[in-house]
Point group: C2
DNA sequence: ATGATTAATCGTAATATTGCAATATAAAGT
DNA sequence: ACTTTATATTGCAATATTACGATTAATCAT
């Protein structure tokens, strides 16, 4: 108990859940928006930009990285983060499928 | 501590996080897919379809309903669930914005 | 080497989530 | 009224998440 029964679901469902869970936090949404907006990757700027402590930001970045949504490159003293295209596209396609499936349907009830 | 600092983020960021958090579980993804696939709304069928206990399914449905993603109509003894178009479209647009913003960018690092 | 800067990790407290057995509620049929 | 059928609620145990202070690790400049 207290543990998601991943073995019951398809690989696709589990992957999508992992990716969405990574995004499903306002801080991580804000981080992704910053990363996308500032074409050039950021790092410690996020600590100033958002009002969260450095360890907290670092942890959120780690979760986004674990889900594969972003990648980090060491750039001297700092770390440069950016979107990881393959996983980002995987997410985009999964969501497209979701929305497309509903488009054709009428409301019931 | 242990509590998300919602006051730090925009209303949009918080709303998107709530919607995504509701979807970000394999069981709830499976439920949404079933609801979308079976144009006609389902309810207890989900208990048979997925391999989870009735209270567990009921709880997942409640979370989806709380986020506004689905709506339930009492139909005699059973309850008929279906997508709630306004919120569903809100989510679709938010996600579109996300993906569109990245489209234009090149990879850095 | 020393100090400054940047980011990750550890430890911990507060809270949230997941799943289910047991029970409660509510409508329909008999 | 009583039983059946369908769903919701309650209570609880196991685990996960969120946030941050304190510390560590790693790179750069002097």
């Amino acid at each position: 108990m207290g543990l998601t029964k991943t073995e019951i679901f398809t690989e696709e469902q589990n992957r999508l859940a992992v990716m969405l869970k990574a995004i499903a936090h306002p801080a991580r949404i804000a981080i992704l928006q910053e990363i996308i907006k500032s074409n050039t990757c950021i790092c410690g700027d996020l600590v100033d930009e958002l009002g969260l402590a450095q360890p907290t930001i670092s942890q959120h970045l780690k979760e986004l990285k674990n889900a594969g949504l972003i990648q980090g490159t060491i750039e001297g003293v700092s770390v440069c983060y950016c979107i990881n295209p393959p996983v980002w596209n995987e997410l985009r396609e999964q969501m497209s499928g979701f929305f497309a499936a509903y488009d054709l349907k009428a409301t019931c009830c």
